[in-house]
Symmetry: D2
Subunit: 401 residues, 4 copies
Amino acid sequence: MHIPRRKIINDPVHGFITIDHPLIFSIIAHPFYQRLRRIHQMALAQLVYPGAVHTRLHHSLGAYHLMCLAINELKNKGAQITPDEEVAAKAAILMHDIGHGPFSHALENVLIPGVDHEEISLAIMHALNKELHGQLDLTIRLFTGNYHKFFLHQLISSQLDVDRMDYLTRDSFFTGVSEGVIGYDRILKMFVAHDNQLMIEEKGIYSVEKFLVARRQMYWQVYLHKTVLAAEKMLVKIITRARETGAISFSPSLNGFLHKPHTSQTVHQQLPAFCELDDYDVIGSVKCWATHEDVVLSTLCKNLLKRDLLKCKLQTERFDEALVQQKTKAVMESLNITSHEAGYFVFTGEAINTTYKLGDEHINVLYKDETVKGISNVDNPLIHQTLSMPVKKFYICYLNI
Amino acid sequence: MHIPRRKIINDPVHGFITIDHPLIFSIIAHPFYQRLRRIHQMALAQLVYPGAVHTRLHHSLGAYHLMCLAINELKNKGAQITPDEEVAAKAAILMHDIGHGPFSHALENVLIPGVDHEEISLAIMHALNKELHGQLDLTIRLFTGNYHKFFLHQLISSQLDVDRMDYLTRDSFFTGVSEGVIGYDRILKMFVAHDNQLMIEEKGIYSVEKFLVARRQMYWQVYLHKTVLAAEKMLVKIITRARETGAISFSPSLNGFLHKPHTSQTVHQQLPAFCELDDYDVIGSVKCWATHEDVVLSTLCKNLLKRDLLKCKLQTERFDEALVQQKTKAVMESLNITSHEAGYFVFTGEAINTTYKLGDEHINVLYKDETVKGISNVDNPLIHQTLSMPVKKFYICYLNI
Amino acid sequence: MHIPRRKIINDPVHGFITIDHPLIFSIIAHPFYQRLRRIHQMALAQLVYPGAVHTRLHHSLGAYHLMCLAINELKNKGAQITPDEEVAAKAAILMHDIGHGPFSHALENVLIPGVDHEEISLAIMHALNKELHGQLDLTIRLFTGNYHKFFLHQLISSQLDVDRMDYLTRDSFFTGVSEGVIGYDRILKMFVAHDNQLMIEEKGIYSVEKFLVARRQMYWQVYLHKTVLAAEKMLVKIITRARETGAISFSPSLNGFLHKPHTSQTVHQQLPAFCELDDYDVIGSVKCWATHEDVVLSTLCKNLLKRDLLKCKLQTERFDEALVQQKTKAVMESLNITSHEAGYFVFTGEAINTTYKLGDEHINVLYKDETVKGISNVDNPLIHQTLSMPVKKFYICYLNI
Amino acid sequence: MHIPRRKIINDPVHGFITIDHPLIFSIIAHPFYQRLRRIHQMALAQLVYPGAVHTRLHHSLGAYHLMCLAINELKNKGAQITPDEEVAAKAAILMHDIGHGPFSHALENVLIPGVDHEEISLAIMHALNKELHGQLDLTIRLFTGNYHKFFLHQLISSQLDVDRMDYLTRDSFFTGVSEGVIGYDRILKMFVAHDNQLMIEEKGIYSVEKFLVARRQMYWQVYLHKTVLAAEKMLVKIITRARETGAISFSPSLNGFLHKPHTSQTVHQQLPAFCELDDYDVIGSVKCWATHEDVVLSTLCKNLLKRDLLKCKLQTERFDEALVQQKTKAVMESLNITSHEAGYFVFTGEAINTTYKLGDEHINVLYKDETVKGISNVDNPLIHQTLSMPVKKFYICYLNI
């Protein structure tokens, strides 16, 4: 008897993850993918939730696992999915975050202004596709939504994709915030492919309701927690100040992105350098800069390392400019710095909870009589309320003196 | 109404951890303690178990939580514990691992040969005690076992201490290896203080049995997993080679420990430098050395980063010297290196499972009639077997060519 | 050393429950309390959720455990609670459901029209208090809300009492409906006693939001699940028909309640007989009546036993009378029965979700500046929506022919 | 689009169980199967573990689910299993316990001396097979081991069958005894069919070790817990005394089995009556007999209902006859009964833990080089010890006066 090559990976969240296709093995073994081990999924959330130290690699393995389950469910319900489509969908979800840089969202558009991670993910997929002699052609079509079986794309990217299902479940697991538990297994059981679209069976509506509420809770309790926000904004300020003062990093790759202008185009040329970057370059540099001669930079770095964070407040109205002025003045005097420099320690902004953008693709519900309704047309006031709720808060961060 | 200062921390393993004493707040806020955020609890086990990325800080918070529960149980059963003793015991367990360096056990006795982490923990406690004007006097007595209520020391360090209970539970949780679940809550309920000794009530024997078996399973399945072993030995070889070749790190603190001889005494003088070190210095350096001119060093570093690990085999008998020779020769030819250099890619050693050292302090069982028996005298063949089982395996690591 | 009498009980939901007071032991050992072992917590929900077979005894032990935790939290935050008050509060919650009859809510007001279970619980407490020579005096005052430390009553009975926290958690656990998980541990941590009232700290608002949404989900997905509703209404019809036809039960106690008129007053006289009743009397009788000569009674009984349930539909509008007529006619013809008899197989009604009665006691939120707001005045549209949502649906049950 | 008929059932233990084949639907809907809802899986264990009230129906659904997973794994590893074989294996496991009578093991061989539940299960399968026009032919062959793909039988009944995997997991879940958690998912992943035999891959040995230890722990901590033993023996004594005194039950079916002699043959003729029996007949009768004129019968019944159980002790040596005499005499005097009658309140016996009968079918381990070893020949002393440990204890039960 021949046992085909299979590997099982322990995942405390989903149980055992099975790898059983050569293409999936190739992707996972690639240094570009292994790099995701060194990028925290939740950036600096661990400063509030000490368990939240899981990685992008772990999340994308989890999303891959949910993709396996989802495809199985759809096939059991009669959807036609060929083996090639199946492995392409799995490959796509495995790589959906491969373009994330150090500290993912926290530094997105900061290290490389104007270029988001999806664009880089796609670029890396193209690079890998060359190495793999075109084996990722279909993967790329699914990822970009250029394939007639659109439900496969929707499993990768839509309001109810396996990406969101994994990260909410995983982030809830590792933070210990039980409010974020979404019951993904029931949602998966409710999936159905209809007219090439991904839909939810009617009796899954309560699960969608639960999903939307849980997601909202995770935003305000975790992702936009005021202390997490403060820490991540400090990291942004550190990068900005390092760039401004020309502070050098020990990491040649990081230096390249800090001190040379980049556009979407140059990034493509610098892909190998980008694929060297991870959280270790950034924190290693922060450790070095803690003794930098620039007092703004060194203070930010020192304070971040010892978790002496800026104070942060969130509210539904914009903060009074007078308050900002007062805090700024106090910092200028206390640290003996200029008004511009004080801006690194006192600043305001907007925190946005993007639970469900109404302009975004819809979640469709398939009724028993085969009618289809968008989720916002379903007779469920709690869903309407969740969807239409204010999604923006204003924050102020300041050095407590 | 005055609400005393309290903080609750989400722990996915134990639920909510409560901090409610000024001394505990002071310790947690100290940079020496915050450093533990940047040291992985399980070194490189995450290369096999992707969820195992939790930190020493998280573990010591968890052990602190179990200490709170244990003290509560003992008091409910009539043990006399004063408020001062209580906070001292909590402080001691919080700091029991504060002397761990980068990658904890994996590099223990490697970065600083001959000095183990308990010695450094104690040195750091003394340093902190000075800062805190003697508030840790009792803590240090409990930690070192110089106090008449010896059961408080045993909660910190003994066969059934809260340290082991936390790390087995936590490591099992984050790896997803259910075999390591120990039922710590029942063990805690079975604790009793008798004649100033920590004991287990008679009906807790099955829980002890479970604990010992679980621990054994974690050793062979996780801590001494052949792939984890290979990765951690590669890290040791990297440090050794860096030292040998005089490779410079970007981190001044790491350089100090790499390239200057250290004894137990000099370490005490270098405590501040030691307290700068964490996993980021090591992995940052490994990233730099991946392009080092020394082919041995750069190969080890590159391979570790892309998880291209040495092969590893474990067996109960010593490996045949001829096999080592053969593998060594192959590497010498393939990489064009000397026999000495090939020793970085082909080597053997012993992996030891220290489930229960018979010479170690005993677990005592208190019977209903107040007689006391050591666990190895209890009528339970499974416990005897577990305690007396072979605890050593031989390993070989080699570069697969 | 004297170990006071203590007992720990394994609870898969909360872990270990500790019993350590003689009064609590006396109550638990009493036959009136042990009877609760033979009353299912969720009546016939197990016909849809096979795991939901837990008992009233288990639930009240769980609520007792949460009371222990809640009191501990409040004391840690400075609330003055004497040992006598503590044990009285625990005794009260332990007995809060002691007046439930067979199949609890499903047959409430059916076996004994016009008398609800709280009234009987109180009567039983008075009876026990006599046996216990007045040891329950304070317990009864707390239960009925006649005590100045009103927060102790609110822990027993209010919008956020430990009763609801336990049953939502427990019912969610045993059904496997993850949507009902409420994070009770965090709510408990947010409790505070202020001006003798039970309040929630400001930062607990998201947990309250979660609690209200979870509760709503449990109502529609579990408690008012159409199939559960159908089964429980069949049981009501069986009791009604048995009464109407004078069908005799093997159980003398059940016969008494079936065939003699009862008022609130006679019930008090018949307390011993009531305390003999449990689910076994009812199901045992249903098994006997499955061969009863009355075709209506025997059909209902047979069908319930083999889980051949009436069809049930739920909707937001009242059902059309014509539909009822049509279904009734079909049944009359098929079973050859009268219109009155067909009413046992075709009927309509209202299912009510009592998430939060606005006239009910409020949940109060305590802000950091010590202001207090009712939960419906808090700035949280999702809570408002949940509170104000339609709580009623109409149902029709009918025999499928 | 046609969605084939599918049903998902919430199981708190395994998640969602999917039913998707007409034959499986037919079996589950049959009154013979629905009867299992009214038989507790763990008899009277709930008197010690209040959560242990789950049913035989729930367990057999769970075993069915594990069968689905196991077959999937084997197919993924290349085993040839036809759709017919697959559904037959699922049907067989679903019905493996269908022959259990009231209180399962506790009354096995008591209500019908000399006939065990497997024999009755098989008889019921044959009866159902007639109704289903031979659809269960293959099911019966698999169940009885008369099919060349023997591994399918081994999944149903062997040392590592899905039956044991489900009941250990489920009983551990509902009792809350974490020591019984076995990691069934990993064992399933290690299954492989080789030479038509079910085997475990080499790297699954630690999981087998864990399984054997967990099972042993469940025996001594739960199944043979002294208080559970006492309660179940009281139930046996009640049945025996009712038979002896000719006490009549309200249940005609129970009367038939109490008061008429039965052999294996008559049982087959009385199958319909047997299929009417469940826990409700027994407990309903116990409630009636609590006021029976025979003092032995009524005392046993009353005490069982109020959980006033016989004392029970377990030890490795046989109890001294003098002790039995002394206890017996005390009961004779106290209750004013004969020596024969006192035997209902004072008695001894043997409790047996059948972890792994060495004469039983072996667990086979498949090594990478395709050699096969029986588990007791594997190089693992802990497994040997577990397998060879004393499996018998002696007990005494007596009325505490």
